[in-house]
C-alpha cells in the first residue's frame, strides 16, 4: 500500500471515475453536487450525470459555503396564533460535494473555527456532519487567484477524498474513513505506485508555478502591515470608487456575516425566521433600532473588510481569513476589492509589532446557551409605564429557572412575526425566574412590546455579553454616571450595590443622572429611595425645562453635575466610575472623570451596537477587533480607549 504523507492513495481511470460518480448519483442516498459550467463560468450544482462534472474549472462564482451557510436558511418555523409552537428546522439530507478546490476546503476549515467554537452553530454543524467532500487539485489556475502566495493551493486535510489529475487517470488521496468506505463501495480503484506519488507531487508543483498573481509579502506579515497603515490614504483613495454593492463579501468563501429576518405568510398564520447573507460593505450593516449607524462612512466599511480578513480574525483565530481564490477581484466592477492588490500596495510602507492594538486584553469565551437562535419561552408578567416613550416590562421564564444574569448583560427579546431586539436587563440579579427590562419605543419589536398584554408569550435568548464584575467594585467608592436610557442597565447594578445585604461591601456611592427634560426622568420613586440609603449622593439634571414645568433641580448637560460631587470624601484612586449613556455622552463624561483624577482602568463603560446573534457569529456588533456581544457591552475604558471605532 502506497501512502503520500501517511495518507492512502488509490488510482482510478477516467472512465472508472465517471462510473463512480454515476453510481453515486444512481444510488440516491446522497444529493450529489459538483462543479458544472454556467455560460463561461462555473458553479456548484446538483449533478444529473457524471458528464456534467467539470473538474478542469478555474473557479466557481460562489464558493461551496452555500451548502453549509445557505443564502437563505430557515432557522425555525412558527405559528402566529400559538406563537410558541416553534419548529426547529430539520434538514436531514446528506450530500456529497465533488470538485472542491484546496483553497475552498481551507476556507471551510476556517469557518469551522468560528461556527463550531464554544457556542456552536447547530445548523452549520449538522450540515458539516452530513456532507462528504471530494476535493480536486487545481488544474486550471484562475488569473485572479493568488492561492499559491497564501499557501492554500494544496491541502493535506479537510477532505474525505482528494482527486489529482495524472494525465489519463486520477489519483485519489483518502482523507477520512467515510471517504475510504465510499470508494470501497462505489469505485473500482487500484493501488498507487511510488511513481504515482511522485507524479502527484510533480503535478502540484507545476500548478503552483502557474500562479502569476502573487502577494509580495508573506501572509504572516499581513496583520503588521495593516495595523501600521490604519490611517493610510489608500482607504480613502480606493473606497472613493466603491459602488457599495458588497459583491466582494457575497462571493467570498471566508465572509460569514449574516442577518436574521422574519417572514410571515399572507394569511398571518405561519411565519419563519430566516437567516441570510449580509455584507459589511452595506450601509445598514451596523444600523441599530434607534436608527444610529456606526461605520457610516464607506471608507470605514471598506477598510473594515480588509482588517477583518487580515487582522481581526487572524488575531482571534490564528488564520488569515483570505484564501486567495480571487473571486472578489473578479466580482468587483471598479476592481478595488482584491486583497492581493491592497496588500501589495501597502507592502512598501511601515510594519507594526502591536497587532493586538485593535483588541482588548481580556478574552471572554461564550458558554453554550443551547441551540443557537432558538429562544426560551417567557411570559409577560407586568407592564409599567415610565414615560410617554419608555415602559418597564417584567418577564418570567416559563421553565422557571432564573435568568442568571450579571448587571450590564443583555437579552435578545423575540416576538414571533415581528423579530428580535437586544435589550439590557434592568433588574438586579436574583434567584427568581423573572427579570425586568426597560424599553424605549423605537423599532418594530419595541413598538409591538408596548401593545402586548400581561400573559402574552414572548421569546428570550441570553443573557449575553460581559456584565460588570461586581467583585471589582467591592471596598471602593462608586461613581455612577448615566444619561437617558442608560439608567436602565445602570439600575441593575445600582440596586445590586444598594441591596441591604450587599451595601456594606461598597464604600460611598455617587449617582449622577441626566435626562432631556423632567418628564423623561425614569425611576423617580426609586431614586428617592436610593437617596435615603446611607452615604449615597444622588444628583439629577435635565437638558432643558419647559416653562411651567415643575423642576427645582439642576438644568444643563450631565457634565454640569460634576462640580456637585462631594469631593472631600473622595479618594479618586479608590473610586470606580461607571458610565452608561448615549454615544455622544462618553467623550465629555470621561474627560470629567479623568480631571477628577480617576485612573483610566477604574472607568467602566457600556457600549451600544447592533447585536443580532449575541454569540460572536453574525459580525454586526464589531468595534474594530472586538465583539460587543462577547467582550462587551461592558468595557474597561483603559482597554478600549485606543479602538478608533469605539467612540466615533
Amino acid at each position: 500500500m502506497t501512502k503520500s504523507d501517511s495518507k492512502v492513495v488509490k488510482i482510478i481511470t477516467k472512465k472508472d471515475l465517471i462510473s463512480f460518480v454515476d453510481s453515486l448519483i444512481k444510488d440516491n442516498t446522497h444529493e450529489i453536487v459538483g462543479v458544472k459550467a454556467k455560460g463561461e463560468r462555473f458553479v456548484f450544482g446538483p449533478l444529473e450525470n457524471a458528464r456534467e462534472l467539470r473538474l478542469d474549472y478555474d473557479f466557481t462564482i460562489l464558493p461551496p459555503k452555500k451548502y453549509f451557510l445557505p443564502q437563505y436558511e430557515n432557522l425555525m418555523g412558527f405559528n402566529l396564533k400559538k406563537p410558541f409552537d416553534v419548529k426547529e428546522n430539520e434538514e436531514k439530507e446528506s450530500r456529497i460535494i465533488i470538485g472542491v478546490h484546496p483553497y475552498d476546503i481551507i476556507a471551510l476549515d476556517q469557518t469551522d473555527k468560528l461556527y463550531l467554537d464554544s457556542q456552536k452553530d447547530d445548523f452549520y454543524k449538522k450540515r458539516r456532519e452530513n456532507t462528504i467532500i471530494i476535493g480536486v487539485d487545481v488544474q486550471k489556475v484562475s488569473e485572479r487567484s493568488f492561492a499559491a502566495s497564501m499557501k492554500t493551493n494544496i491541502t493535506e486535510s479537510g477532505f474525505d477524498l482528494m482527486l489529482t489529475n495524472l494525465e489519463g487517470k486520477y489519483a485519489i488521496t483518502i482523507g477520512s474513513e467515510k471517504g475510504k468506505q465510499l470508494l470501497a463501495k462505489y469505485a473500482k480503484t487500484a493501488a498507487a505506485t511510488e511513481l504515482d506519488i511522485k507524479k502527484i507531487k510533480a503535478v502540484r508543483k507545476h500548478i503552483a508555478s502557474q500562479y502569476t498573481k502573487k502577494v509580495k509579502i508573506d501572509k504572516k506579515e499581513w496583520p503588521s502591515v495593516l495595523v501600521a497603515n490604519y490611517d493610510h490614504p489608500i482607504w480613502d483613495k480606493k473606497s472613493d470608487e466603491c459602488l457599495e454593492c458588497s459583491s466582494c463579501t457575497m462571493v467570498c468563501p471566508t465572509c460569514f456575516c449574516y442577518d436574521v429576518k422574519e417572514e410571515v405568510s399572507l394569511n398571518l398564520k405561519d411565519g419563519k425566521r430566516v437567516r441570510t447573507w449580509d455584507g459589511c460593505l452595506l450601509q445598514d450593516f451596523t444600523k441599530i433600532g434607534s436608527g444610529e449607524v456606526f461605520r457610516g462612512d464607506i471608507k470605514e466599511r471598506y477598510r473594515h473588510r480588509f482588517f477583518r480578513k487580515g487582522n481581526y480574525l487572524p488575531e482571534r483565530y490564528g488564520f488569515i481569513a483570505c484564501v486567495g481564490c480571487g473571486r472578489c477581484g473578479t466580482a468587483c466592477l471598479p476592481d478595488i476589492a482584491d486583497p492581493c492588490d491592497v496588500i501589495n500596495e501597502l507592502s512598501h510602507f511601515e510594519r507594526s509589532d502591536d497587532t493586538s492594538r485593535f483588541f482588548i486584553k481580556e478574552k471572554t469565551e461564550i458558554k453554550d446557551k443551547g441551540i443557537i437562535h432558538i429562544p426560551r419561552v417567557a411570559t409577560l408578567k407586568r407592564k409599567e409605564k415610565l414615560t410617554s416613550m419608555e415602559m418597564l416590562f417584567e418577564i418570567e421564564l416559563d421553565d422557571n429557572k432564573p435568568l442568571n444574569h450579571k448587571p450590564g448583560q443583555f437579552v435578545e427579546v423575540s416576538i414571533f412575526g415581528i423579530g428580535e431586539a437586544p435589550i439590557s436587563v434592568s433588574s438586579a440579579p436574583s434567584k427568581s425566574p423573572s427579570f425586568e427590562i426597560v424599553v424605549r419605543k423605537v423599532g418594530n419589536v419595541t413598538l409591538k412590546l408596548f401593545e402586548m398584554s400581561v400573559g402574552d408569550k414572548l421569546g428570550i435568548r441570553g443573557p449575553f455579553g460581559n456584565g460588570f464584575n461586581v467583585k471589582n467594585l467591592e471596598k471602593k467608592h462608586i461613581l455612577f454616571t448615566s444619561g437617558g436610557l442608560g439608567i436602565a442597565p445602570m439600575r441593575s447594578l445600582i440596586n445590586h450595590v444598594l441591596d441591604k445585604d450587599n451595601r456594606k461591601k461598597f464604600k460611598d456611592i455617587t449617582i449622577l443622572y441626566g435626562s432631556k427634560c423632567p418628564d423623561d426622568i425614569l425611576f423617580m420613586d426609586e431614586i428617592e429611595e436610593w437617596k435615603k440609603v446611607d452615604d449615597v449622593q444622588c444628583e439629577l439634571t435635565v437638558d432643558q425645562c419647559a416653562e411651567g414645568e415643575c423642576w427645582t433641580g439642576c438644568t444643563g448637560l450631565i457634565t454640569t453635575l460634576f462640580p456637585r460631587i462631594r469631593l472631600d470624601k473622595y479618594d479618586s484612586k479608590n473610586t470606580i466610575a461607571v458610565v452608561i449613556g448615549p454615544p455622544v455622552m462618553y467623550k465629555f463624561v470621561i474627560q470629567c472623570l479623568l480631571t477628577l483624577g480617576i485612573p483610566e482602568e477604574n472607568i467602566f463603560v457600556s457600549l451600544e451596537r447592533r447585536m443580532k446573534c449575541g454569540v460572536g457569529k453574525c459580525g454586526h456588533c464589531q468595534i474594530n477587533g472586538v465583539y460587543v456581544c462577547k467582550e462587551g457591552p461592558v468595557f474597561n475604558y483603559s482597554q478600549i480607549k485606543n479602538l478608533p471605532e469605539a467612540f466615533e
Binding site: K66, C245, S246
Partner: protein, 261 residues
C-alpha cells in the same frame, strides 16, 4: 379590527394593481387580513373611509395633485405602489423636455387650452407632492414584496425595504455578471428587493426600483472601458426609469471625483 385598504391610480398602466389582482386564490388570504374598501380594477364598491391608501401612478396635472392631497388627508398610511408612484419611472422620460414642448409634440395644434385634463406639468413622483410612508418599488412590483409589506402593516410593523443594491441578490442567485457578457446593467446602483429577477433571466437591470447611489463618473467610465461598453448604451439605460436621478440634459451628471486641489 382589520385595517381598511383602498387602492388608487394616477398616470400608469395599472399593471402593478394587476399584479395584486393576479394573486388569485391568495386574494382570499388578503381579504382575511385587510378590508379592501376600494379597488377599481376588481370591484364596484368604493368608500372614502380607509386607513391605508395604496397608490399607483405618477402625478401629471394640478387636478392630480388636488386628488392626491385629499387621499393623503383621508389615509393614516400612504403607500406608493410601483415605479410610476415611487420614483416617477417611465413617465419621467418626458421630463427631458419642458411640458410645453411635450404637449406640442403630442397634441400638435389641437386646442387643449383651458382643459384641465390636458393641463400637464412635468411628471412628479408621489413624494414630490405629499409625504409617503412606505414604498413598494418596481415595474411592475414584486408580488412577494407586496405580500410582505401588507402583512407587516396588518401586524402593525414598519415594512423593511432593502437599502442595498441588486448585486447582493444577483450574487446570491449565482448569476454570471452581465458586464462580463458585454451588457450594461444598473444592478450595482439600483435598490434590491426584486430578487434580481431581470439579471437572473439574462436581462440587464434597468433600475426600476430607483437609484441608491450615484457613482463617480470617472469610475463608471473606467468600468465602461474595461467591459467595452458605450456611453450611449449606459445613457439610454439610465433614462428609462431614472431620468431625474441622472439628468441627461447636462450629459449625465454622475458625482465628480473629489478634487484634491
Amino acid at each position: 379590527m382589520k385595517p381598511r385598504v383602498a387602492f388608487f391610480d394616477f398616470s400608469s398602466c395599472e399593471g402593478c394593481q394587476l399584479q395584486i389582482a393576479n394573486l388569485e386564490e391568495e386574494i382570499l388570504d388578503l381579504i382575511e387580513i385587510v378590508d379592501v374598501v376600494s379597488f377599481r380594477e376588481v370591484m364596484k364598491e368604493h368608500s372614502d373611509e380607509y386607513d391605508i391608501a395604496i397608490i399607483e401612478g405618477s402625478i401629471m396635472r394640478p387636478m392630480d395633485e388636488k386628488r392626491l392631497r385629499k387621499i393623503r388627508r383621508n389615509a393614516k398610511i400612504l403607500v406608493a405602489l410601483g415605479a410610476c408612484a415611487t420614483i416617477g419611472g417611465i413617465n419621467k422620460i418626458r421630463n427631458q423636455w419642458s411640458a410645453e414642448e411635450v404637449k406640442k409634440e403630442v397634441y400638435g395644434d389641437a386646442d387643449i387650452k383651458d382643459n384641465e385634463f390636458f393641463d400637464a406639468f412635468q411628471t412628479k413622483a408621489l413624494n414630490e407632492v405629499v409625504p409617503v410612508d412606505y414604498y413598494i418599488h418596481g415595474c411592475p412590483i414584486n408580488r412577494d414584496e407586496f405580500k410582505q409589506v401588507i402583512t407587516a402593516l396588518a401586524l402593525g410593523k414598519k415594512p423593511e425595504i432593502p437599502n442595498y443594491p441588486v448585486c447582493v441578490e444577483c450574487k446570491k442567485n449565482e448569476n454570471v455578471c452581465l458586464f462580463e457578457l458585454g451588457k450594461f446593467c444598473l444592478g450595482p446602483i439600483t435598490r434590491a428587493g426584486c430578487n434580481a429577477i431581470c439579471p437572473t433571466n439574462g436581462s440587464p437591470c434597468d433600475g426600476c426600483r430607483g437609484i441608491l447611489k450615484k457613482p463617480q463618473i470617472e469610475c463608471v467610465m473606467d468600468i465602461l472601458e474595461k467591459y467595452d461598453l458605450t456611453y450611449e448604451e449606459m445613457k439610454s439605460r439610465c433614462t428609462l426609469y431614472n431620468t431625474s436621478s441622472f439628468n441627461p440634459k447636462d450629459g449625465m451628471t454622475f458625482v465628480r471625483r473629489k478634487s484634491n486641489e
